[in-house]
């Protein structure tokens, strides 16, 4: 049977998630005023139109707005203004490389700054570089062409005799040079060249000097001396400090009046929380804890309960009314007379984000202006919220997106920003609002839980001839108002369009109506579904008596792209050699956000609570790695993030109260527990795709598969080590 997914050849394949077109103009005076710190010179505005996942999340496809700028200053500065935020994933260097490549300058000459919020885009979906690199390269190419034209006009010669070299244009007749800075003013009054449909000429792949090189990220030096400014570090003159206390029970609200404790500058009723304002953060934490609050708790809060949820999920799995997500072939026939059936149910818990930087926001509100300093993945949504709450116009509101101490999907949300604006309205002074770690973990938008059943029908030779997969999980989008009459691709991603030769298949989704607040967590649905899919494949392989690598190779026959990644990981992980005594290896693979990642984990264990992962070999195909060092870092980080979650991560609810309070009962791996990770990058020539999230999903099934090999026991429930704790040793 022919599979729905691609067959692994680059020719003619389009990146599936996005379609995009680009318009380029000289920036208007209004645009110019919106940018911070721009000197005089050439400024080009780029309208990148797309219909990708992040655009959908923002409220609909086809978002059309000027959303990037390239400035060539008369002071020789080269600045790009982009809408994505930097949280260590390397977007600033990746897009800076693209502009520098086409401008023919040393990439370190390009500085990257956040664009104003009205032009920003959501930072998520592992899309920052993949979706914008071509646009930024075009930006650099147009600026280069206009600078060359300005030079040609100055010298009265043809542009063909002018060559851009290292930040200057060289007159190939006289040998004279003019720097970009000296040409910027003349270039600024030229019309933007009319290009054909293919746009300006970009550097051929074979001549790339900067893209594909392991360049040093520009944000790193400031992260080694304390000078990087995260949201929590913002200091404004005359600033006061606020802290919040939410109702300990989710869904509860403040009832009656609240009294300002002695020493507080103010207390503020925030609906589901109270804020107290003091003269430093610690005092604000103490003050807010001392505020006496009567909470009104709706009956529905009691239903946010893990024991109720467990029963409900099982019931939905057995009897729920499913959406058919994908159906290929005759599944019923495949299961009529199989030789063997593998029937396994996997469960995954709710998870907190626990970014190292807790939620915080600083606001300076006057009667006519509002400045907001926030670590946010969504400056445009922050702007819209500020307009709504203050009644000011966008022109009078300025959003300063700061460095983020982790985003992980939590910093899409607006709860902490809303609170800071409301407190600023009450105290009429600049205010920094900070959540304690306990508030941060206890009031999250948790990664949804899932209960996933997979049934595999095997024929007499062990071949997979039928695959049934039913997913029960809450819908993030439904909880935010999307219609409940359709499935949710974010809950099912990673289960559909798999290139395995399953024979016939049926993928179903049952929406879990649980009211626990859920949100986007690094890798979203791929993290849920990859655990189930890659565990089930392994179970089928064992049932067939075939090595799990070989079984996958057979199922992927003909798909050279997946096979290349799978085999690279296997080779890197020494799959064909015997592991040291007491250890075993497990393998898993996924394609998330377009990027294919395979991992081999080598572990020892005598019980699930003492699993030790020694090594992880990881192969990744993200099309082409723009910055290989950054891709490696994202794989290393994704693996450890996924491994911490697989080992320890969970939130339980008891009558509306979340279990997690701090790292004391939400353990993460420390250095001494972390595996050594090796990464092999495959540049396949497919369209570039992102790497911020795809490193996460394969590690949990790779470890579970190794554990099954080692002990004969299958771990179908995450985390492996529930109720783990941490102390200060």
């Amino acid at each position: 049977m022919k599979n729905a997914a691609d067959t692994g050849t680059p020719s003619g394949r389009q990146s599936p998630a996005y379609s995009q077109s680009i318009e380029i103009t000289t920036a208007s005076e209004l645009n110019r005023r919106q940018l911070m710190g721009l000197t005089a010179g050439l400024l080009l505005a780029f309208t990148i139109k797309d219909s990708g996942r992040a655009a959908l999340a923002a409220g609909g496809p086809g978002v059309v707005a000027v959303n990037a700028f390239v400035g060539i200053g008369t002071d020789e500065s080269i600045t790009i203004y982009i809408g994505g935020g930097e949280m260590g994933q390397g977007i600033y260097s990746g897009l800076g490389q693209g502009v520098a490549e086409e401008l023919m300058v040393d990439w370190t000459k390009v500085s990257v700054k956040p664009v104003d919020a009205s032009h920003s885009w959501l930072t998520g979906g592992s899309s920052g570089i993949s979706r914008h690199l071509i646009a930024m390269r075009q930006a650099g190419a147009v600026a280069r062409d206009m600078l060359v034209q300005a030079a040609a006009n100055t010298w009265g010669i043809s542009t063909s005799l002018c060559k851009p070299v290292n930040g200057s244009v060289v007159n190939q007749v006289s040998g004279a040079t003019l720097s970009y800075g000296k040409l910027a003013a003349a270039a600024a009054v030229l019309p933007v060249p009319a290009y054909g449909a293919s746009g300006p000429t970009l550097t051929p792949d074979s001549q790339l000097r900067i893209i594909g090189k392991a360049v040093a990220r520009p944000d790193i030096p400031s992260k080694t001396d304390g000078s990087a400014i995260y949201g929590i570090d913002v200091v404004l003159p005359n600033m006061v400090f606020a802290a919040v206390k939410h109702c300990p029970t989710l869904g509860g609200t403040v009832s009656g009046t609240i009294t300002k404790p002695s020493g507080a500058i103010a207390v503020v009723n925030l609906g589901n929380a109270v804020a107290a304002v003091g003269t430093n953060t610690q005092q604000a934490f103490q003050l807010v804890n001392s505020v006496k609050v009567n909470w009104s708790i709706p009956a529905s809060s009691k239903l946010i309960d893990s024991s109720l949820y467990a029963t409900q999920q099982k019931s939905l799995l057995a009897n729920g009314n499913p959406f058919t997500v994908q159906e290929l072939g005759n599944v019923a026939a495949a299961f009529t007379a199989p030789k063997k059936v593998v029937d396994a149910t996997y469960s995954l818990p709710y998870l907190p984000h626990a970014c190292m930087e807790v939620l915080n926001c600083t606001v300076n509100l006057t009667s006519t202006t509002c400045d907001i300093y926030a670590p946010t993945q969504a400056p445009n949504l922050v702007l819209a919220q500020a307009i709504s709450l203050t009644g000011l116009t966008a022109a009078n509101i300025r959003i300063y997106p700061t460095m983020m101490g982790g985003g992980l999907g939590r910093k899409f949300e607006l709860d902490y920003v809303t609170q800071a604006i409301k407190v600023a309205q009450a105290v009429k002074r600049p205010v920094k609002l900070t959540w304690s770690r306990e508030q941060d973990m206890g009031n999250d938008r948790y990664r949804p839980s899932a209960l996933i059943r997979i049934q595999c029908a095997l024929d007499s030779t062990g071949n997979l001839i039928g695959w049934k997969n039913r997913i029960v999980s809450p819908s993030i989008l439904f909880q935010r108002g999307a219609p409940g009459t359709s499935s949710d691709s974010q809950a099912t991603e990673g289960s559909t369009d798999l290139p395995y030769g399953f024979g016939s298949r049926l993928i179903e989704y049952v929406r879990d109506p649980a009211a626990a607040p859920v949100g986007f967590w690094r890798s979203v649905g791929f993290g849920l579904n990859t655990f189930a899919v890659e565990s089930a494949i392994d179970e089928a392989a064992l049932a067939a008596g075939v090595d799990p690598l070989v079984y996958r190779q057979r199922l992927l026959a003909g798909n050279t792209r997946w096979l290349n990644v799978l085999n690279a990981a296997a080779a890197l992980g020494n799959w064909s050699t015997k592991p040291p005594a007491g250890r075993a290896r497990g393998i898993a693979i996924c394609q998330a956000f377009g990027t294919i990642v395979a991992q081999v984990a080598e572990i020892s264990a005598t019980s699930p609570t003492n699993i030790r992962v020694y090594k992880v070999a990881c192969a990744v195909d993200c099309g082409n790695a723009v910055n290989p060092n950054s891709v490696e870092a994202q794989m290393q980080g994704g693996i450890l993030h996924g491994l911490s979650a697989a080992m320890f991560g969970q939130v339980k609810f008891a009558a509306g109260v979340p279990s997690v309070r701090n790292f004391s009962n939400s353990r993460v791996l420390r250095m001494r527990e972390a595996p050594v990770i090796t990464v092999s990058i495959i540049n396949s020539g497919f369209p570039i795709t992102g790497t911020g999230e795809p490193g996460v999903p394969p590690i949990a099934p790779a470890v579970a598969n190794a554990y099954a090999k080692l002990t004969g026991t299958r771990l179908r429930s995450l985390p492996f080590y529930p109720n783990a704790t941490m102390s200060d040793d």
Binding site: M87, G88, A216, R217, D219, I220, P221, S222, K223, T224, D225, G226, S227, A228, Y230, I232, D233, V235, F241, T279, N280, T281, Q282, Q283, F285, A354, M356, E357, V358, M403, G405, G406, G407, L408, S436, R437, N629, A633, Q634, Q636, G637, G638, I639, L640, H641, S644, N662, F663, S664, V668, L669, R670, M671, R672, A674, V676, I677, S727, D728, D729
Partner: protein, 148 residues
């Protein structure tokens, strides 16, 4: 008034005696490189040096710092010039970077006591939390600094 010596400078601080050193540094002295992560001495993002020894400043009363030499990330070296910071840059250690001040302070203390630590020495000493998962690069950077 409380007198503190931070990074070789003397400060007069107006704070209650039970104010934690972390918040004195951050909110009063505006030395914001030292980070808040958990407040319960687990994550280590708030690590500073007290007479050269690493301590978690989130649960340390400001008065415990009186008469001592306090070093924060801002005082490690001018313009990230120390061998450790240069190694951190060479190994491209930080991702989000939020925990790295604490990691660097901890590593500085380790190297001053043990100039050539083994992997096991590093693993045993470096118990701060990094959610981005930069541990492997931190280990490499410490070796690089030790060998430079």
């Amino acid at each position: 008034m409380i007198t503190l010596n931070v990074n070789g400078k003397t400060y007069q601080v107006n704070a209650d005696s039970n104010t934690k050193m972390l918040w004195v540094l951050r909110d009063i002295l505006h030395l914001t490189g030292t980070k808040y992560g958990c407040g319960i001495e687990i994550c280590g993002a708030c690590t500073i040096l007290l007479d050269g020894e690493p301590v978690k400043s989130c649960d340390m009363d400001v008065t415990e710092g009186v008469g001592r030499h306090i070093t924060t990330i801002e005082g490690l070296a001018p313009a990230h010039s120390s061998k450790l910071q240069q190694a951190w840059i060479a190994e491209q250690v930080p991702q989000c970077g939020y925990c790295q001040s604490g990691m660097l302070m901890k590593a500085a203390a380790l190297l001053s006591r043990n100039p050539h630590p083994t992997d096991a020495d590093i693993d045993s000493e470096m118990d701060n939390i990094c959610v981005c998962g930069t541990y492997q690069r931190i280990r490499a950077a410490i070796h690089r600094a030790a060998n430079s």
